[in-house]
Amino acid sequence: MQRFILGKKNQIVLVSAILIVIGFVSALAFKNELVANWAFGIASVIGAAPIAIQAFQALKVKVISIDLLVTIAVIGAFLIKNLEESAIVTFLFLFGAYLEQRTLNKTRSAIKELTEMAPESALKQMENGEFVEVEVDDVDVGDILLVKTGARVPVDGTVLVGEGFINEASITGESVPVSKEVDSGVYAGTILDNGTLQIVANRVGEDTTFGKIIELVEEAQDSKSEAERFIDRFAKYYTPAVLVMAFIVWLFSRDVELAITILVLGCPGALVIGVPVSNVAGIGNGARHGVLLKGSEIINDFSKVDAIIFDKTGTLTIGNPQVAENVYYTDGDDETLSYLASVENESDHPLANAIVEYIGTAKMYPVENTEVIKGGGIVAQVDGHKVAVGNIALMEKENIPLNDQAMADIERMEQNGNSLVLTAVDGELKTLMGIRDQIRPGVKEDLQRLKKLGVKNLVVLSGDNQGTVDLVARELGLTEAHGHMLPEDKASYIKKLQDEGQIVAFVGDGVNDSPSLALAQIGIAMGGGTDVAIETSDVVLMNSDFSRLPHALGLCKATARNMHQNIVIAVGVVLALLSFVFFTDWMNMSIGMLVHEGSILVVILNGMRLLRYRLKY
């Protein structure tokens, strides 16, 4: 019975509205009090029914809800024969709830779009070799699945048979299709543009990258900042307090009308909905633009950021360094390049890769006794010779003499912003290479936008030499630049700024800079949709697109502003209503309820504005 009534709320609103109109028309046009009273009376009863049921159910679980306050108010109105008021109040309350539902759904739509992209079914291979359609929840790790052209990949997996092109936009934001063949990895939620693939499932359901992104967004929507947790606690005690206050007012004034009006006006509806609405809209906007904000606390912190610290290689630069210059110090250059190539071939360092690429085909020698010196380079035995490859610090450590010519070259190349790699064989300096890593296109403009948004400090920290770092800082207009930094040094630097009271954001590589990412209040990993970036970042830039950073910052500031606006509206309206009811005559329940519901809608609509936020260039 209860379920039935609750299910018919929309119809009740409609019938109630009609009855109220009949009531007014009767009373005002036909002066027929009897019909009017019956109309209002019936409207009140059918309107109050669902509200009373909700109030009762809340009481059963020990919650004093707004429904209870409204129910008591309506009963009070009935008792003092104010049927018109009780009808209007119940109507407004139900209608308001209906409007709230519609607008809230719209606000949540951005995120709904994301979850709707999740695949529901998959073609699984059975024992007899045939592919049968099953629900995606029934796929286990190790199952073999068939993906046809145009279909969504159902799970994270590896290609066993076939090839094709996949649109990975839902994970990386890149709309250029990626080619896949045997042994390629594929992600759940991506679309197979053309081709046919048989894949083996590696991760299913919530463990897929897509599943993790959805979970991340859902948790972010409801993550509460300090302010929100406070509001929640406040609302829990405030609602019963209104009940008590109304009761006390009734005791002292015996004015039932006044007391029940207070009951209606005191409801904190707008306050409780106001902040979460801004949160959802902000996060929804972010998700649509390739930025995942991991929650309300992050949004608030980032909006107040004082300093943004960037890692250089791979963040500000493309991360694909190339040898720009090569100087020889001995004649007849013999096997040096081959030894160098052999040693650098063993390393994954970007500088090593650049050198190997530059040298091209060379005779490879076996490398023995390799010693990696942190912050310096590599020392190894090649073909019976002692080869040292690294920076100036390494040369000094190995006691390799650097003549005037060499020192001049070093200074010149550093000034030009090169990373230097010196190679010495058997204690003699053989070559000096200058390696340059190009700055990502568009970074300069993006940094300018960040400055315009009010970030005071833009700092670059790098393991590279000071000359390179200074050049980058000059070119990009950064406030500070520090080179020769090991990962621990970067973390210490961040701590120093934080001790000064600054809010710090760190943008870097998800893998090497984990201590810094964890320490900074806002960690931003440029790993795109990879697991590491998702796990460690507070703000995830979906396809490592640096240009999303200004939008992310602008969005956070706009969202924080929006939340404040909503809080002000909510509190302001309640205070205004309460003062009106005490100090004026014309404030009654109906008007009070109208304004109350109105304020809730205003707050939701204000939140919805955020969905359309765009950074103005």
């Binding site: 159910q57 679980v61 919650v63 707004i66 859902e218 929507q221 409801d222 979460p276 949160n279």
Partner: protein, 76 residues
């Protein structure tokens, strides 16, 4: 201990979260600390001891409050 996720019809009223939270926590066998009601995605997440309470029991409690349950699942 199993992990459960219950999807309800879209939640819109401010007190919904409190009601569902209290109702879920009041069932013996549900780990009170783990109960999370996600207002915006309309989901209820919690851990429970299948020996003391079943997923159905929780679904019934939430439905009794007046909220339709769209989907429910539990896993170890």
């Amino acid at each position: 201990m199993q992990k459960a996720t219950i999807q309800t019809e879209p939640l819109t009223c401010p007190s919904c979260v409190q009601k569902i939270e209290n109702a879920t926590k009041s069932l013996d066998g549900v780990d009170k600390e783990s109960v999370k009601v996600l207002f915006n995605s309309s989901k209820v997440k919690f851990d429970f001891d299948p020996a003391k309470v079943s997923l159905e029991d929780v679904v019934k409690a939430i439905t009794a409050l007046g909220y339709e349950v769209v989907k429910s699942q539990a896993k170890d």
